[in-house]
């Protein structure tokens, strides 16, 4: 392989099968300078964990501090929209460093404690049942559009405290915000419409919760404004963040996990034999094996050595969850999908101070989804092998996942 090829991060073959590509990097050059895109690519488990736990060296304020243009390229007339989108995203919690990050995280943390999220299990289970009851008689579904995308929006809408009659509107906005992750050159228009629409929709809700707090996360953010931690703009952009972060990632967990099960029917049979007992471990293995988020970025805040390489302040860094999760020095038979795997210290939710705020919710959703599917469907089969992924370095997101199911033979 030539150097040019190893740096072709966005090639269709890498997007289709990131695991093979990143395994080669992890074996040959685990802290790799990608000359073509001018960034470091970190693939070894140990280096990824070290990086994430040493946030003082690696800033999360990537959008604010880097001038890289959107990739894949966008229509030139949409570039002004990009500046506005950058401003919007730069005020989100995930793009903040300490001390600001800690103050903001404290505002939302109380809402997202593991105990509080466990309290949502019954609601999640009912939502799964309701959606599957509608779909099951048809004998087939596009998992992405019929199930994986609508489910998390239903849950987030409830957490936001959105009135029932506004659910469809929220779902439309959520679907537009998902365009952040697509490749079409006109995608920023749709994304911008979604962001604007969500700000316009949320503004009166925030105003109302400022006066009369309820038990929802907009009220938690509004409390942050009252305490002087968040501006009104930050309340609004972080509402959008929670909607997006809980939507994109959960739908990928459902689709990527179900695909892994369909390609490993022995593991499906294993889950079906004990859905209550195995759902928890199975979801961890789905998260490890084909993670919803493939990689995320940092910017070096100071000069730092990592894996024997000298990284300079200001350098961009991509840490590859999908590669760390299959590092053979940590995971035995890393390319095998084994739903009984234990321990399973994957980094699909990150590590350190930015560890996924919604991790417990994602786990509850994943557990209820795979438990619910396993209890209903003896066998789910793919309707096509021709599967395409969104052209994204960050997300592992199928465009579509058509399946059908068979009834158990008497």
């Amino acid at each position: 392989m030539t150097v040019a090829h190893i740096d072709d991060l966005f090639s269709p073959s890498v997007n289709q099968d990131p695991h093979a590509y990143f395994a080669r990097l992890r074996e040959t050059d685990p802290v790799h300078w990608n000359e073509r895109f001018k960034l470091w690519v970190v693939t070894r488990y140990e280096d990824v964990v070290w990086l994430l736990r040493h946030h003082e060296y690696f800033s999360s304020a990537v959008i604010k501090t880097t001038e890289a243009p959107p990739y894949p390229p966008v229509n030139p007339e949409d570039v002004p929209l990009y500046d506005e989108i950058r401003r919007f995203r730069a005020d989100q919690l995930v793009e903040k460093d300490r001390p600001e990050h800690l103050d903001m995280r404290k505002v939302v943390h109380k809402y997202f404690t593991p105990t509080a999220m466990e309290g949502w299990r019954e609601f999640v289970r009912d939502a799964v049942t309701e959606l599957l009851d509608e779909i099951q008689p048809t004998g087939r579904m596009n998992v992405m559009t019929d199930f994986a995308a609508p489910l998390p929006v239903r849950i987030i809408a409830q957490m936001m405290g959105v009135p029932y009659e506004d659910r469809d509107h929220l779902r439309e906005l959520a679907d537009k915000i998902l365009w952040a992750n697509r490749g079409e050159p006109y995608r920023l228009r749709v994304l911008h419409e979604g962001m604007q629409g969500l700000i316009e929709y949320s503004a009166p809700l925030v105003e109302q919760r400022m006066k009369q707090p309820e038990n929802d996360f907009i009220s938690a953010l509004a409390e942050g404004e009252k305490a002087g931690v968040l501006t009104r703009y930050q309340v609004l952009v972080n509402t959008a963040l929670l909607l997006f972060a809980g939507h994109e990632t959960t739908m990928n967990l459902i689709c990527n996990g179900l695909l892994a099960f369909m390609r490993n029917p022995d593991q499906w049979d294993r889950l079906r034999a004990d859905p209550d007992g195995l759902a928890r471990l199975a979801v961890e293995e789905c998260m490890r094996y084909d993670p919803p988020v493939k990689s995320t970025q940092r910017v070096a805040a100071q000069d730092v050595e990592l894996g024997g390489k000298q990284i300079d302040a200001g350098d961009r860094i991509r840490w590859i969850i999908a590669a760390a999760n299959r590092d053979p020095s940590v995971f035995e038979d890393p390319d095998t999908f084994d739903i009984g795997r234990q321990p399973n210290p994957h980094v699909a939710f990150g590590s350190g101070i930015h560890y996924c705020l919604g991790a417990t919710l994602a786990r509850v959703e994943g557990q209820e989804v795979f438990r619910g599917l396993a209890q209903r469907f003896p066998r789910i089969v793919l309707e096509t092998e021709d599967l395409e992924y969104q052209p994204s370095l960050q997300f592992r997101s199928l465009k579509s996942l058509p399946v059908r199911w068979e009834k158990e033979k008497p």
């Binding site: 040493h54 404690t113 593991p114 105990t115 939710f349 350190g352 991790a359």
Partner: protein, 76 residues
Amino acid sequence: MTRSLRVWVDHSRCVGNAMCLATAPNVFAHNANRQSEVVNESGDTPDTILEAASICPTSAIHVEDAETGERLFPAS
């Protein structure tokens, strides 16, 4: 008199989120792996320690009543 607690961190779960250090800074500190360690079980009030345990995103912090052995966190 307030009750005394026994507190420890399960390192197979701790991901170094550091919310415990921010909440109960006199009880928890990071070790060389950037995982949480208990440095003083009575450094902060029992309520503060229980709050730190409850906001840990991986429920890695265990809290017991030192006298009775009653498990106070996690619940199960």
